[in-house]
């Protein structure tokens, strides 16, 4: 199998970086509070700062860029095909004839940046295909195209 070809939105790394940064920033704020309240155990503070810095580096720089190189998607008349992940990578394909629902979902950050995710579900809970971080117009086009060719609900698709 050749890999799918379409990349996600060019703003995808940004949204991944912001999402990845949130827990580490919370952690950093807690650390700052701790440092102000209690200056003993200096080595522990230094260690915690190092861990946070490393976490920020990985989740804000490395993971989003890596992800952007891996994430690809494609839709044909017979199947939806995606490639996702960074450390752990997955290629997933589902036949259009067995698709049950097609929808988009957008988190607050997605909306801020004009992105949308497409979710294509089948009767198997292990088989849902997600095309994440698309430009909103692209996502709408994909959904329209998929609902068009999927002829949803004609059989029970199990």
């Amino acid at each position: 199998m050749v890999d799918p070809t379409n990349p996600p939105s060019s703003r995808a790394p940004l949204v991944w970086a912001l999402t990845g940064a949130v827990p580490w920033l919370v952690f950093a704020v807690l650390q700052l509070g701790w440092a102000v309240a209690d200056q003993r155990l200096e080595w522990l503070h230094v260690g915690a700062v190092a861990v946070t810095a490393l976490g920020l580096l990985v989740s804000v720089v490395i993971a989003p860029l890596w992800r952007y190189r891996v994430h690809r998607w494609d839709v044909s008349d017979q199947a939806v095909y995606t490639r996702t992940g960074w450390l752990v990578q997955e290629r997933r394909i589902a036949p259009i004839s067995r698709v049950q629902t097609v929808d988009t979902y957008r988190g607050p950050l997605d909306r801020l940046l004009g992105l949308a995710n497409v979710r294509v579900t089948t009767a198997s809970s292990a088989g849902a295909v997600h095309i994440v971080a698309l430009d909103a117009p692209v996502a709408d086009r994909v959904v329209a195209h998929l609902t068009d060719i999927a002829s949803l609900g004609t059989e029970d698709a199990t």
Binding site: M1, D74, L87, Q89, G127, T158
Partner: protein
């Protein structure tokens, strides 16, 4: 109310439930009841007790008056409906053509009164409030109701009631109990009982009793190691007895049969000595099965059989077709169901040296780390020799598991069936109809990419939903998928 003459009347459950409901209600409110009895005897005021018992009984009785059901006559467009609730009324309604299976369950009290609980399920998973359960109808009504509810599954529903052909696939034998003897569930039960005893404070009371003092004296005379050995023996024996007893009660009198009749091709399973359960499965929902051979059962030459059906949970008791039984029986039954002996017992294609190396690396990680730790400790201030012998035993066990895992690993695929086998402690071999596979995932961790292997996951709507082929060489992964699913082979990405 807009009721047309064609609409069927709402029916009540069996009036005998008037006896069962108050008792069940009392059992459910047992803590309250105990509290009231204690309070009543403390204050010498038995009026309270009588009042509360009355309220509980009346609430139980109203359940019968408020619960009604009806089955609309048209098997395709009609619905089945269940109304219940005293203050909060609810109506559960499902289209009749969506019914996939009918189960019955007869607990002891129900059985004494000739009653049966009937549960109807569609493809969706239902829990709690959304379970369509008729609790309970008279047992004599069950065959009639089942026939009505499953009428749409048969092609010949209109041709009248003809005695269907029926074949028994497997019948429970007392000798099957030997496979349950090595089940760990007995130990778990004992552990739970001990925990409860300890928690409730009964343990402390026991320790001060004269009985335990005489026991302790006897133990001292006997010697500590011997006492410990005897204690362990007693616990083990009790665990075996409990496990066998539990298996006998749950699976005793099991009959698995397949009938072709007015209701179509249906698989029927009934089991239980005291509490009798009966399931009917529409064979068109069958997508394969899993032969499970846990190490302790495998040592005695046994196997269990789980069904992979759409609309039936893949794990746990609801998918069990056969409890631990002779391997030949389980294989024979599965072969009969999938009508393809090669998918069930045919030779498997091995996954090669990389997959084998990964099994060994994983198994040796813990012994390796422990060994390194021990070596460091020994260099610093020495460890007793028996630590090392313990470590050697652990390492040997891990090595045996790894070797067994390597031996088990394999898959086979053709255009009709995908089969694969994995594991040692919990070995399983499944076969899944390729027509039921509705998605493929090729999953690779960083280590797997470096080693050039991948885990292939077939998604289905049946059984455990995700069926894995572990650590196949990555160049095989898509060709396995392509062999099973023409829509993969003919996709524009296939080379």
């Amino acid at each position: 109310m807009t009721s047309t003459p064609a609409e069927p009347a709402w029916q009540r459950l069996s009036p005998r439930m008037l006896l069962v409901h108050p008792l069940h209600e009392a059992l459910r409110e047992l803590p309250l009841l105990i509290a009231v009895v204690v309070f009543g005897s403390a204050t010498d005021n038995s009026v309270w007790v009588v009042a509360v018992v009355w309220v509980i009984a009346v609430v139980g009785v109203t359940r019968w008056f408020t619960t009604t059901y009806r089955i609309e006559p048209d098997p395709e467009a009609g619905r089945v409906q269940l109304r219940s609730g005293l203050l909060r009324r609810k109506v559960l309604s499902m289209p009749r053509n969506r019914i996939r299976s009918v189960e019955t369950d007869t607990r002891l009290l129900h059985r004494l009164l000739g009653l049966t609980v009937l549960r109807v399920s569609t493809g969706q998973q239902a829990a709690g409030d959304t379970v369509f359960e008729l609790d309970a109808v008279e047992s004599s009504q069950v065959p009639r109701l089942r026939k009505i509810l499953l009428a749409h599954t048969g092609q010949a529903a209109a041709s009248g009631p003809e005695p269907g052909r029926s074949a028994v696939l497997a019948r429970w034998q007392p000798s099957w109990l030997r496979y349950s003897a090595l089940n760990l569930s007995g130990l778990v039960t004992i552990g739970a009982a001990m925990g409860a005893l300890y928690q409730s404070g009964a343990w402390a009371a026991l320790q001060d009793s004269p009985l335990s003092r005489t026991w302790r004296d006897a133990a001292e005379r006997f010697g500590a190691p011997q006492t410990a050995a005897v204690g362990a023996g007693v616990v083990l024996a009790a665990a075996i007895v409990l496990a066998v007893l539990r298996s006998a009660l749950t699976y005793g009198n099991l009959v698995l049969s397949r009938s072709f009749g007015v209701t179509g091709d249906v698989l029927e399973l009934s089991h239980g000595l005291l509490r009798v359960r009966h399931h009917s499965y529409d064979m068109r929902r069958l997508r394969g099965g899993t032969l499970r051979r846990p190490l302790l059962v495998r040592l005695l030459g046994g196997a269990r059989l789980d069904a992979a059906m759409t609309g039936v949970t893949g794990a746990g008791e609801s998918s069990v077709l056969l409890p631990p039984c002779p391997r030949a029986t389980a294989e024979q039954v599965l072969t009969g169901l999938v009508a393809d002996p090669v998918a069930v017992t045919g030779p498997l294609r091995r996954h090669g040296p990389v997959a084998a190396r990964r099994r060994w690396t994983r198994a040796m990680m813990l012994p390796g780390a422990l060994g390194a730790g021990l070596a460091v400790t020994a260099a610093v201030d020495g460890v007793p020799v028996w630590y090392w012998s313990l470590w050697a035993g652990l390492t040997l066990g891990a090595a045996l598991l790894a070797a067994d895992r390597v031996r088990a690993l394999g898959h086979r695929v053709d255009q009709h069936w995908l089969s694969a086998r994995t594991g040692s402690w919990e070995q399983r071999r499944y076969c899944i109809a390729t027509a039921g596979i509705i998605g493929w995932t090729v999953h690779q961790s960083w280590f797997q990419r470096r080693a050039g292997v991948a885990t292939l996951i077939a998604a289905t709507a049946a059984g455990v939903k995700a069926y894995r082929v572990l650590d196949v060489p990555e160049e095989w992964a898509w060709s396995v998928a392509a062999q099973a699913s023409p829509w993969v082979a003919h996709s524009k990405w296939a080379r």
